[in-house]
Each structure stands twice: as C-alpha cells, then as structure tokens.
Symmetry: C2
Subunit: 331 residues, 2 copies
C-alpha cells in the first residue's frame, strides 16, 4: 500500500505548473535584487513545492511536467535542479521523475559508482514487477542510448557480474502456479551447493535469477522444511563477504521486499551520519508502492515509527519532503 | 523485404473464415461417406487453404482466427491440426500463428529437443528486433506459464547455457550510435581471448550478448582491420566443436542474418534427405520479414533460385505452400 496522500480535489495541472513556476519566480526576483546573496535556495518557496509535488501521483506529476514545458519552454526538472540544493533537491528530483525513468537514472548512477552500487541494481531488478523492470530497460534505452544490461555487464566483474546481469535482464513469470516437484529438487540443489560453499555456482544463479517469485518462494520453503534452516541462515554461517551479503539481500528482496526495505531504512538512519542516498531512494521509490507495509514492518522491528526516526535524523525541507511522502500529516 | 504476396483486394475476414471452414466440411462429409478411406487429408481442400492463408499478413490471419472462433466455437489452428498432416500441416500451423506466438512455440519446442535445438534459440534471440524478442517472451509467459529464460537455463548446461541465457534475455539498444573507442578496445579483448582459445570466456559472452548490433558491427570491423582476419575465420582455425559452431552462427545472425538464413536453407535442402523442420522454420518466420533478401543471397551463392531448389526437393501441398510463401506466382 502506498503512503502517498493525494488531496480529494486536485487542482488542474496547469494551475500546479503555474504555482511551481511562481515558486521559482520569487527566487529570480529576489536574486535580481540581492544578487550577491547566495544562500541555498534563498527566495524559492520550498514549502509550496512540497505542498504540490509531494501530493501528486506519478500520472499527475507527468502531466504537470508536460504542461510546465509547454508553458515555459523549459523542463520542470531543470528548473528544480537550478533552484534547489543538496538532499532536498535530490529527493524532489527523484520523486518528480516517472518511476521507470527514476529507476533508469538510479541504475545508471549505480553502474558508475562503487560503494554499494550493486545493491541498487539488485534492488531495482528484484523488487519491481517484471513489466515495470522491462519499462526501466526501455527508459534506459531512451535516456542513455544503450542497454541496462550492457552497462551492468561492462561495469561489474566476477561473481557480481554473474549474478547482476541475469537479474537485471530477467522477465520472470508472474503467475501463482507452483511446481512442487521442481521446488523440492531445486531446494536440494541449493542446499548441496551451499554445503559445498559453492555460493556463486551457476545453478544457484540460475534458480535465483530465472524462477518466478512464487516458485522461488516454494523452493525456499522446502529448503527450510527439509534442511531445518532458512537458506539465508545457512548463507550466513560461513565467512562473510560482499558477495554473500548481496546474495542474501537478493533472496530477501525476492521473497520479503518490505523486510529488505525496513532494514535498509533502519541502517541508513541508525548509522553514524545518516545515509541520505539510501533513505531518499527508499522513500521516493516506495511511497507510491508499498510504503505503508514498510512503515508497519519498521514500527514492529524498531518499536518506534519511521516518521519519528526520520524527523529525529533529518531536518528542514528535506525532512518535510520525506515526511510528506511517507504520509505524515494531511494532503 | 517480405516475400509474402497479399492480393490487392482482400476479402473480409468472415468470408475467409467461412471458406476455410468449408474446406474442412468437405472433408467431414467425405469422411462420413467413405469412413474407411484414411488417405492423408483426403477430401480437405488444401488448395483453398493455401490460396487463403498463404496470402494474408499476420494482422489479417489473426482476424481470420478470431472471426473463425466466434463463428464456430473452435480455434482455426485446432481444425487445421485435425485436417492436415505431416510437413504441410507444420508449415500451415506455424505460418498461421502470430509471429511472437510462433517464436514462443519454436523456442519451447527447442528447449525440449536435443538436435540442433540450440540453434533455434540463438536464431530467435539474434535475428528478431529487441522489441519483437520481448514480445516472444511475453507470448511465452502467456502460453507456457513460465519464462523463456527459465526454460532455456534449465535445459542447457555449460558453455551453451552461458551463451544462450543472456542471448534470449537481451534487450539490445537499437540505435545506430557507435562508440569507436569502445569498438577498438573490445575488438582487442575478443582477439586476446580467441588467441588464448578461451572461446567461452565471459568477456566474449558479455560483448556478444549485450552490445547493440551497430556497436558489435563496428567492433567486428575493427577486429578485421586490426588483426587481418574476420573473427569467424579465427574461430574456425582451431579444432571445431558444437560450441564454436554455435558461436560463429551467433555472430553471423547478429551481423549478416540473410547470409545465415541462406546457408541454413542451402544445408537443409542440399543434405541427404531434406531437413524439413529447418526449411519450414526459415520460410514461415522470414516470409513476412526479409525473404526477398534471403532469396537474392541464395541465388548469388548457389547460382540457382530458391524457388527452383524448393520445387526440386519437396512436393505436393507442402511444396505449394512454401512456394506461395516465398512469393512464387500471383497472390
């Protein structure tokens, strides 16, 4: 369930576009008068921007962008980029993008960074529906003039490449049909390979990257029943490394996405110095999808609400934007 | 260019559907009177079937199927299956299917057979457009309740799996943009790996399975310029095996599909005992795409037209069906 709150009566897109433009105009006017004052976003009406954009769904935001471009000959995103700054800017820009464009952007960024970028690719590949993942691949073509899998394959090596390329290329079947015989035989294969510490064995990769989520779930349930431990428990028993961590996260994303996101939020808030990139990513990509479930999970696991933790760890317009997206207060 | 000939004035689909139904009715009537005569297709009006179906494009055939089902409560394909037999039946059934359904059917069949089935998978993955390949994957979901890549991964092993799974999962960029630096550096990588006889090295697989056809073409041209031989010549110098053959065919499909199909037709016709499966597959899958180019190539390479060779090697309704599809005679 989405956390996004859209008001009962939404103004027509041209009105929203005008309001946003006005929010920038104030800034231009102010900048003209006091051009030597360079305080971040000075004069721009951030509150107005949040009150509009954080309360419009993807289709509505797309319309606003379209109308804005028609009226002002400029992409709304470009103007937002010019007027805003730092974490607040990133949150507003990511949120305003169409979901498949946003994922394409995040994935492209991930292929260029080192730190934890593999997680972003895995997360996009495993938590989106098959059709939505395909739309990300189409958006990637349109925006970067190459394919997502081509960039992922080029920028990764070894076991990470072996896992990530088929993950981002997958078009999993999404029906609920389960083949019990297959679930049993593949649970056995997984257990054998893990017992042999062959964590990047091609059979493990094949099963995790091609089977439907329903089938995989059945396989992992059989694993648990037959061998007395969850697969992730067994994957944790041995020496730990980055590949094993990614493998466990992959399994979690495919079977319990809300738990995966809860943990990501927890770690990004609790660590010394908030990880704003992860926080912004999770909030902007899940607000329209399953943020209510994630909030529930967060509350259960941390005995404090996500709203409260975000309010305690962030501030200013960035805080207001995130809280609006996770459904705090009224639309 | 397509070889399919559609008449200038096409009857409305319900008329076509009625004619087809009548072609079967004659058979039922005849069978009732002379039920002990079991000659193949006796009584069915094969000429009528060819004259209609072999001269309708995919959209028209789909409409005929739809109208036929509405009028007779039965899928036209089921009735064709009942009334026809052997090679003629297979040609009519494959042709009548929608292109993406047909490819899904051929691919599924390939995952279950051993002989040369890898070629069918590679051929579908490499000669269809990115969008058409994706439509095949959608049709595969709908028909088989699983994903194409899942079946391919499950039914292949070793080097074949390493090559085929990313091939069928690819969504290549289709623009004409070429990165010359990249072409040079990847030509070098390919040459190094081939010199080391590391034919199934993951870098070779990565380049062949993810780069756009335009980029790959530039890379292989650089290969030829820099190292004095075409890549396929270098891949042929060493001991030959099935994987190397498939690798060369992959490269040919990606860069010169019409030459690949010409050779496939040549071998299927010239070998002792025609390979009807390959012949039927090439004719039914290319008639609406690039059969004219393939015929040109065939004529140039064999000094005889494809029409003549097909007429010399096949007979009866099967011959008539193939010749109609490759554009022999009038619509």
């Amino acid at each position: 369930m989405a956390s996004l709150k859209v008001p009962a009566s939404v103004p027509p897109p041209h009105e929203d576009a005008e309001q946003l433009h006005k929010a920038f105009e104030d800034a231009v006017l102010a900048a003209n008068i006091l051009f030597f004052i360079r305080s971040s976003g000075w004069g721009t009406n951030e509150g107005l921007i949040i009150s509009i954009l954080a309360h419009r769904n993807a289709a509505q935001r797309n319309l606003i962008r379209q109308v804005y471009t028609e009226a002002h000959g400029q992409d709304l995103l470009k103007d937002l980029d010019k007027e805003l700054s730092s974490d607040f800017e990133r949150a507003v820009l990511l949120w305003t993008l169409d979901p498949s464009e946003r994922d394409a952007y995040l994935a492209n960024e991930a292929t260029k960074r080192l730190t934890s970028s593999n997680w972003v690719l895995m997360e996009i590949a495993c938590t989106r529906s098959s059709h939505d993942l395909f739309k990300v691949r189409q958006a990637y073509h349109a925006r970067y003039k190459k394919s997502l899998e081509e960039d992922v394959a080029y920028h990764t090596t070894g076991d990470f490449r072996k896992l990530l390329v088929p993950l981002v290329s997958a078009f999993r079947y999404e029906g609920e049909e389960v083949n019990t015989m297959l679930a049993k035989s593949e649970a056995k294969i997984l257990h054998e390979k893990i017992s042999d510490k062959a964590y990047s064995d091609e059979e493990i990769i094949r099963i995790l990257t091609t089977r439907s989520k329903a089938q995989l779930n059945a396989t992992l349930n059989h694993y648990n029943n037959a061998f007395g431990n969850s697969i992730n428990k067994n994957l944790k028993e041995d020496a730990d490394n980055d590949f094993l961590k990614l493998l466990r996260a992959t399994i979690k994303c495919l079977t319990y996405p809300e738990k995966y996101f809860e943990k990501l939020l927890r770690l990004s808030i609790k660590k010394l110095g908030t990880d704003e990139w992860a926080l912004t990513r999770v909030v902007t990509t899940r607000a329209e999808v399953d943020m209510e479930r994630i909030k529930e999970e967060y509350h259960r696991r941390n005995s404090v609400t996500l709203d409260r933790d975000i309010a305690g760890d962030t501030s200013g317009d960035y805080e207001r934007m995130l809280l609006a997206l996770i459904g705090h207060g009224d639309a």
